[in-house]
């Protein structure tokens, strides 16, 4: 993308399929993106466009009915899709860490939060007591009041926002080089969202980690990220710096997304998805031509016949559209 060197994560032509009731859902097709070291990259797109599928494929945590049918995921000089599961496991929670969408179901309900924060340090050879101190420190860092006393509490004794902070505390303990966050604020209300975003910024500033941040709130992405990837129906349609995307929009889909989004996100606490007329295409029986063709307000004749290539319209700004 921008820096040819110094990308902590490089995804190339990643394709993922799900098998469900004899049908093959082509959830991701030829997705390529880079996460520059020390930067925050946002992934945006409507619900169902494959954001979670993308990051679960990177983490190799896809559901059993999924298959990665092609592509490469370069991290730390290796293709993560080729490393043995044991190596992958040792990367998770050390080099790469993750925050999930739904804080209410992410933590184990029968293990105390203290125990869970200690368990993620299992590779650490230090004493139980120092692990405990580390956990308490991380909890206080994310603003859990009286953390030492709450160590023995269970997830159901915390609110959703608190639980998401606990999940962030886990990643703080792990000090990963790359943090992947899958809509960490979608389940929370607006004030909590602001706080969580603040925690993530803090985390990035303090530990210099890179973040791949999935969201469908463009406002949040504009606030937090350096680069943006726009996905539609399993493909990347546009990518560039936040400046490029917000001041020099190219793809008609991104345009629509912007129209639906920023003002509303900033001003209201309402949590509706951006709505664009029309529906997502069928991922089982893909339309020929441009994937967005059927819903596009600027479609040309060739759009129905031929899928557009990805073109670089400005340094670091790429778009897959016949208009350019």
């Amino acid at each position: 993308m921008v820096e040819p060197t110094g990308n902590i994560l490089q995804v190339r032509n990643l394709s993922v399929e799900f098998k469900a009731r004899k049908r093959v859902i082509k959830a991701l097709r030829d997705v390529s993106l880079d996460v520059p070291t020390g930067k925050i990259v946002g992934v945006v797109g409507e619900s169902g466009c494959g954001k979670s599928t993308l990051i679960l494929a990177i983490m190799r945590l896809l559901a059993p009915n999924a298959a990665i049918t092609g592509g490469e995921v370069h991290f730390g000089g290796r293709d993560l899709l080729k490393v043995p599961e044991a190596d992958m496991q040792s990367l998770r929670g050390t080099d790469i860490s993750m925050i999930f969408q739904d804080p209410l179901t992410s933590l184990n309900p029968v293990v105390s939060i203290g125990r869970q924060l200690i368990d993620v340090q299992y590779r650490d050879r230090s004493s139980l007591d120092s692990k405990r101190q580390r956990a308490i420190q991380a909890l206080s860092q994310v603003g859990i009041p009286d953390p030492a006393a709450r160590m023995d509490a269970y997830p159901h004794e915390f609110s959703g926002g608190m639980r998401q902070r606990i999940a962030i505390a886990m990643t703080i303990i792990e000090e990963p080089r790359l943090l992947i966050a899958d809509e960490p604020t979608t389940a929370l209300d607006a004030t909590l969202e602001v706080q969580i975003i603040h925690e993530l910024k803090e985390l990035q500033r303090r530990y210099q980690c890179s973040i791949l941040f999935v969201s469908h709130h463009l406002g949040v992405v504009a606030d937090l990220c350096d680069y943006v990837i726009v996905m539609y129906a399993g493909e990347v349609v546009e990518q560039g710096s936040v400046r490029d995307l917000f001041h020099d929009v190219r793809h008609p889909y991104t345009e629509k997304l912007m129209e639906c989004d920023p003002a509303r996100i900033v001003r209201s606490t309402e949590r509706s998805f951006p709505t664009i007329p029309g529906d997502l295409p069928d991922l089982v029986d893909l339309p020929s031509g441009c994937i967005f063709g059927a819903r596009c307000h600027r479609a040309l004749q060739q759009c129905a016949a031929e899928a557009p290539d990805t073109r670089t319209v400005a340094p670091g700004h790429a778009v897959a559209c016949h208009l350019y």
Binding site: M59, L61, Q89, S90, L91, R92, G93, T94, S97, M98, F100, D102, T105, S106, L107, N108, P109, V110, V111, S112, D119, V120, Y122, R123, Y154, H156, E157, A167, M170, E174
Partner: protein, 314 residues
């Protein structure tokens, strides 16, 4: 947790008291008053009146129930008029045989069924899973008395590996253990299948929950996730069912006790019903009910120990 245990125990006691009251009322609602039944057809009205007075039947019903409680609490379950010895003594004599049988039957079912269920859930659709599935259903479908009879014929009569009948009353504990093997096998076999199926299903369900993926995303080792994070939740339904199962087994082992001619509670109930030996029926039902409530109370407490969410309920 302590609070939960106290509350749950109190609830158990209330249930037992309700059950005892109900039992007392039921016995006394049976046609033909107990005094007449006890004295037989040649009873004179005077004798009946004297008997009723002795049994406290001339007092108002609530008083009767209260004094019944008093007697039960002091360990007096009445007198077995047939054998002419205290009911409590008869029951205490056979109770250990049943308790040991139930414990042995449930233990081996647990030790085999739970690992089988865990294996099936972690290797779904493998041939072992399929084999375990088919045999589990077969084990569940086979009535315990059929299992008992065939086990008896094969291992005791034909092969001679185990004693044919009795509980080994006159032998030492090794002999008693030897006598225990076949009956415990018979009463536990269905439970092996049942627990394997139950644990498999609930484990698969828990494995699909979000927190498992979360734990994996943080690189936790497979075994920690499986045994510390997942099994602890997946075992909960099994714990509940085992509590109920132990309660039901206390009288359900009657087949094994009859087939293997073992002394025991189930057999005692069977004989008491045959003889219409009311004090004995009453005593045995009282004991099985109490043990049932104790078993379910303990399983609830164990559930609460495993799952903090349960503690905050009740």
């Amino acid at each position: 947790m302590i609070l939960y245990m106290v509350k749950r125990t109190a609830l158990g006691i209330v249930i037992i008291m309700l059950a005892v009251t109900l039992l007392y009322l039921m016995i006394h609602a049976v046609p033909g008053d107990p005094a007449t039944v006890m004295l037989g057809p040649r009873a004179t009205p005077e004798l009946i009146a004297a008997m009723e007075q002795r049994m406290g039947l001339d007092k108002p019903l609530p008083m009767q129930i209260v004094s019944f409680f008093g007697r039960v609490l002091s360990g007096d379950l009445g007198v077995d008029v047939f054998a002419e010895r205290p009911v409590a003594e008869t029951i205490v004599g056979v109770l250990p045989y049943t308790l040991v049988l139930v414990a042995a039957g449930m233990s081996w079912a647990l030790l085999l069924g739970v690992p089988l269920g865990v294996y099936s859930a972690t290797h779904p659709d493998s041939w072992m899973d399929k084999a375990a599935g088919v045999s589990s259903v077969a084990f569940i479908a086979m009535p315990p008395f059929v299992v008992g009879l065939y086990a008896l014929l094969l291992f005791a009569v034909t092969l001679g590996w185990f004693p044919v009948i009795g509980g080994g009353q006159e032998k030492g504990w090794i002999g008693q253990l030897h006598h225990l093997v076949l009956p415990a096998f018979a009463v536990g076999l269905g439970w092996v299948g049942y627990l394997a199926r139950l644990v498999r299903a609930s484990m698969l369900e828990v494995l699909a929950e979000n927190h498992v993926r979360h734990a994996r995303a943080h690189g936790l080792p497979h075994n920690v996730i499986l045994y510390r994070y997942v099994l602890r939740i997946a075992i909960l339904p099994a714990v509940t069912i085992i509590g109920i199962g132990i309660g039901a087994m206390l009288s359900g082992v009657v087949f094994a006790e009859i087939i293997f001619a073992r002394p025991g509670l189930g057999k005692l109930i069977f004989v008491a019903v045959q003889q219409r030996n009311f004090p004995l029926i009453m005593g045995t039902v009282l004991v099985t009910t109490t043990l049932f409530v104790i078993a379910t109370t303990l399983s609830d407490i164990l559930n609460a120990l495993l799952d903090p969410r349960i503690r905050s309920r009740l």
